[in-house]
């Protein structure tokens, strides 16, 4: 709380009418103390996104509310409110980008490279264009300067199988696909590399002219003196681990629809970032930002793969301009599984060294990342530096370019991979020490941020450990699984646990507008998106709480660059903690105006007024005015509040923490693993809507279960082609694979992080799932499992000694 109260100008910023309301007292904003210049409005603040810390400029809000404390008596925030767009979704009325129909709309599809490396020598579009109903083709010369996944769009040099080479546009999607099949394509093959081992050989074919390793060297991060520290250890454990390439597999593929009206362009896009897509499209087509409108009302999942405009966007826009008709371009499943990003495969050689009491003295991880043709350097090493207290840590990351599709952010990029290596090896260390794995983790508890040596805004991982272990029945199940192993039965039980950390503080810039209409209804406008997370609902809850409105009267408008003020991409678990505070400020401002109006209408002092349930009440008086009555009196006066997200507290790490427990049963004859139970305890600050938040946890855990047991993109080494680009062959979990899941939050409000007390949720639950399950499998079979997914044949091989 102290972080927010560092101000030199007290009473001046008070809004009228708030004294009687919990948490409504306001203070002048943080006033630029991030840089020690008290009067500046635009200052820099640190924001962590997808594991990367970025410096962002923040426009400090005029007023920074006092944080909602742990015991704040809130009536709407914290309630299990059904999601407010559920009706649209269960009736089929929710329109996704793939459902967008415009008058005279055409459809586009891609001709894709059927080889992993080579050069197009002949691309004859004639037969395709001759097909009745085919309207146009799009090739590289139509989109010069436009990039897709690290290469020029429709590049005739082939870098990965599935790369788009041209697009065809036709009256129907089916016709567009038929046209693509008629394109005469001739290519010259060049040698490809699709495995890390092949790419690192001397004389390996070059995926990039500059070499197969970005900057030609590994990224090494270290603190302390690992070699001296390791020499003092009593126990040293080393594992060599492998994680697979995983595919996002959102149910709605990537897609866009584009329509030009004169010089104005409208794009409907299935995206996690409407403003990012606007920026990308404006840059690609050299358009002013105010001529590009990007909309996303509903979307069928993103999970990190839908943060930017892509080939489908540029294709729809370019064809729509060329033909003067709206064009929709929705990827087919194979395109979705080969050309929209992935979580890259890794190898991790991990060495942990500890004293006999379990104290870690050194952590080492040497990793390779099968990066693909392009992407960004998502770090599997970062979690090794963060999760435990340890003075000596050294990691090395070798990113390797391959002739495979570019990687992209995928729900906790880097951390999911790294957590498997670290937490699996911690488990092996516990076995080496003869220690309870949970005790080992408690022994090495990081009280402050190890990497940057600063405080945490709040950390209750200890409570996650104790409450999680209690609810899971850690001691009891451990004893039971030991008994099941001793019996030598075919079905062996095992238990395991793992923990996680993930930057979840969010940050600026993010804006919101709250409008009270003359009939008393309320609009919340903010340029964020709802990916299925429930942001529509929770921002209405925050606005209703702060404004004193009935939730039923509040509607959130998002996903439209033209109707809403800016908010950032929905990535890095940032949305709640970024946009929530802006919504709260906007609602408080609107309430102040409303209270002022009511005070004048009722001829009382604002200090005697309060608002709740869309009614303004006078203290010690019978008189009331509903928001609608005030609206009627005011005519068409616009009651409006503007809110923005303030700075993050300086020198503070803000993260979500969790401990996860799993029980499995392994059939030692077939190698089949069945997960019997998962308990997941989370510390994510205040929970705005526990029902929706639990859904997020369950979803992350289930995705992690798929990563642990089934999911793996397979590429034929000789041909360089993906072998399982379908939802049948790339196995995501079904309802039949899901054990009982007990996912919950330890109660806490993070009053340092921001004034709503909330942190992010979405990515935390996937991080510890695979290691917790793998640790349980190792417990069941008594062998250190080092590779996921734990398919039956891998488990059998482990049981039979590799």
């Amino acid at each position: 709380m102290a972080a927010r109260k560092r101000t030199s100008k007290p009473a001046q910023g008070k809004l009228p009418g708030h004294d009687s309301e919990p948490g409504a007292e306001t203070l002048p904003a943080g006033s630029g103390q991030e840089r020690g210049t008290p009067q500046k409005r635009f200052v820099a603040t640190k924001v962590e996104i997808e594991g990367r810390e970025e410096l962002k400029i923040v426009e400090l809000p005029d007023l920074e509310p006092v944080p909602w404390g742990e015991d704040e008596p809130l009536g709407i925030v914290g309630e299990r409110v059904p999601r407010m767009d559920a009706l649209e979704k269960v009736t089929g009325r929710a329109r996704y980008t793939a459902d967008m129909v415009r008058p005279a709309m055409l459809h586009a599809a891609f001709v894709r490279a059927p080889i992993a490396s080579g050069r197009v020598t002949r691309l004859d579009l004639g037969p395709a264009l001759a097909l009745p109903g085919v309207r146009a083709a799009l090739t590289a010369s139509d989109v010069t300067g436009v990039m897709h996944a690290g290469a020029p769009l429709f590049d005739q040099v082939i870098h990965w199988a599935g790369q788009p080479l041209a697009a065809l546009c036709a009256d129907t999607l089916e016709l567009a696909h038929r046209a693509c099949a008629l394109v005469a394509l001739e290519m010259e093959l060049t040698p490809h590399v699709v495995t890390v081992n092949a790419a690192l050989q001397t004389g390996a074919p070059l995926v990039r002219p500059t070499g197969n390793v970005p900057r030609s060297q590994p990224r090494v991060l270290q603190r302390g003196d690992v070699d001296s520290a390791r020499a003092t250890a009593d126990v040293v454990v080393t594992l060599e681990l492998r994680t697979p390439c995983a595919l996002h597999t959102a149910m709605e593929p990537h897609g866009a629809a584009a329509e030009w009206t004169g010089d104005d362009l409208t794009v409907w896009e299935s995206t996690q970032g409407i403003f990012q897509v606007r920026k990308d499209v404006a840059r690609a087509f050299k358009l002013p930002l105010n001529r590009v409108r990007v909309m996303k009302d509903y979307m069928g999942g993103g999970f990190g793969a839908k943060n930017y405009a892509g080939a489908h966007t540029y294709t729809a826009v370019a064809l729509a301009r060329m033909l003067g008709r709206p064009v929709r371009c929705i990827l087919d499943r194979e395109g979705e599984q080969t050309d929209t990003g992935n979580r890259p495969a890794t190898t991790q050689r991990v060495t942990l060294a500890a004293r006999v009491d379990g104290t870690l003295v050194s952590i080492e991880a040497d990793t390779t990342i099968a990066y693909g043709y392009s992407g960004w350097l998502a770090s599997p090493a970062k979690i090794y530096h963060e999760l435990y207290a340890c003075p000596s840590v050294r990691t090395s990351e070798t990113f390797v370019h391959l002739n495979t599709g570019a990687m992209d952010s995928f729900r906790a990029p880097g951390h999911v991979e790294g957590a498997f290596g670290l937490e699996r090896t911690m488990d092996a260390l516990a076995r080496g020490l003869g220690m309870d794995p949970l005790e080992l983790r408690r022994k090495n508890y990081a009280v402050h941020d190890q990497e940057k040596n600063r405080r945490y805004s709040a950390k209750h991982l200890d409570r996650c450990y104790s409450e999680g272990a209690e609810r899971f029945g850690w001691m009891r199940r451990r004893a039971e699984s030991a008994a099941s192993r001793a019996s030598g039965a075919r079905f062996r039980r095992g238990v395991g646990m793992a923990s996680q950390i993930w930057g979840a503080g969010g940050g600026p810039p993010a804006y919101a507008t709250v409008r009270v209409n003359p009939d008393g209804t309320v609009d919340v406008l903010t340029g964020t998106q709802d990916l299925g997370t429930g942001s529509r609902t929770i921002f209405a809850q925050i606005a209703a709480e702060s404004l004193g409105a009935r939730l039923a009267d509040v509607r959130t408008v998002l996903g439209d660059t033209e109707r809403t003020p800016y908010a950032g991409n929905s990535w890095g678990s940032i949305t709640t903690a970024s946009v929530g505070p802006a919504v709260r400020i906007a609602a408080l401002q609107a309430r102040a105006r409303l209270i002022e109006a009511a005070a004048e209408l009722l001829e009382v002092d604002t200090t005697r007024l309060s608002a709740s349930d869309s009614v303004v009440r006078v203290a010690d008086d019978e008189r009331t005015m509903t928001f609608a009555q005030i609206g009627r009196e005011l005519g068409d006066v616009m009651i409006m509040g503007q809110g923005s997200r303030g700075a993050n507290p300086p020198d503070t790490a803000i993260a979500a923490f969790a401990a996860q427990f799993a029980e499995v049963e392994v059939d030692v004859e077939t190698g089949r693993v069945r997960v019997l139970a998962i308990t997941s305890a989370h510390d994510s600050g205040r929970i705005i809507n526990p029902m929706l938040a639990e859904s997020q946890l369950e979803g992350g855990i289930i995705m992690g279960l798929g990563y642990a047991l089934f999911e793996e993109r397979v590429i034929d080494e000789r041909l360089g082609l993906p072998l399982n680009p379908t939802t049948h062959d790339y196995k995501i979990p079904t309802v039949g694979d899901i054990p009982p899941i007990d996912a919950f939050f330890v109660r806490s409000a993070d009053v340092v992080a921001n004034h709503t007390g909330a942190r992010g949720i979405a990515e935390a639950p996937i991080i510890p799932t695979a290691p917790a399950i793998a640790n349980a499998v190792a417990d069941a079979i008594g062998v250190e499992v080092v590779e996921i997914p734990m398919t039956p044949w891998r488990v059998l091989a482990a049981i039979n000694g590799g």
């Binding site: 269960v90 009325r93 793939a98």
Partner: protein, 160 residues
């Protein structure tokens, strides 16, 4: 040909190779039924054909002339939601919502043939419908709750 969808007859011109999904979405603009994989793998396109669940992406429209088709748009009776729709909302059995129409139709078919399914029977009956958001635990709960509610309503009808 004539196609009966949600108890309404439509006159449509259908080519032999056209799927029911394409006709529903493109000709009738019933976009509640979703395209996810086009190969009968994900279940997002599930509709009822004569009361039984079918993947409309693998069903030829031309073969549906004498059949009664129900899509998610036909589930509610006017303003009154189907018990499963209410249960999905109440139990938060949806996140992004893209697979939800298919999940609902699969659940309707399941409860039609087994009004009192066990948890295992629900898991089995719903396993042809993928959800990447991971709403499965809540789908199971919603289907259980709706089944109980529908049986109670049915017994009330008998009493009446």
């Amino acid at each position: 040909m004539r196609l009966t969808v949600n108890a309404q007859e439509h006159e449509v011109v259908v080519q032999g190779h056209e799927t029911l999904l394409a006709v529903l979405r493109e000709q009738l603009e019933l976009t509640g039924t979703k395209l996810g994989c086009a190969r009968g793998e994900c279940g997002a396109c599930t509709v009822l054909v004569n009361g039984r669940a079918a993947y409309s992406c693998l069903t030829l429209a031309a073969g549906c002339a004498s059949h009664s088709i129900t899509t998610v748009e036909g589930l509610a009776a006017g303003q009154s939601l189907h018990a499963l729709q209410r249960a999905f909302i109440e139990h938060d059995a949806l996140q992004c919502g893209y697979c939800t129409p298919g999940q609902l139709m699969a659940a309707v078919a399941l409860l039609a043939r087994n009004p009192a399914p066990s948890v295992d029977e629900i898991r089995h009956g719903m396993s042809g419908n993928l959800c990447r958001c991971g709403t499965y635990p809540k789908i199971v709960r919603a289907v259980q709750a709706a089944a109980i509610g529908m049986r109670a309503d049915a017994s009330l009808d008998v009493v009446r």
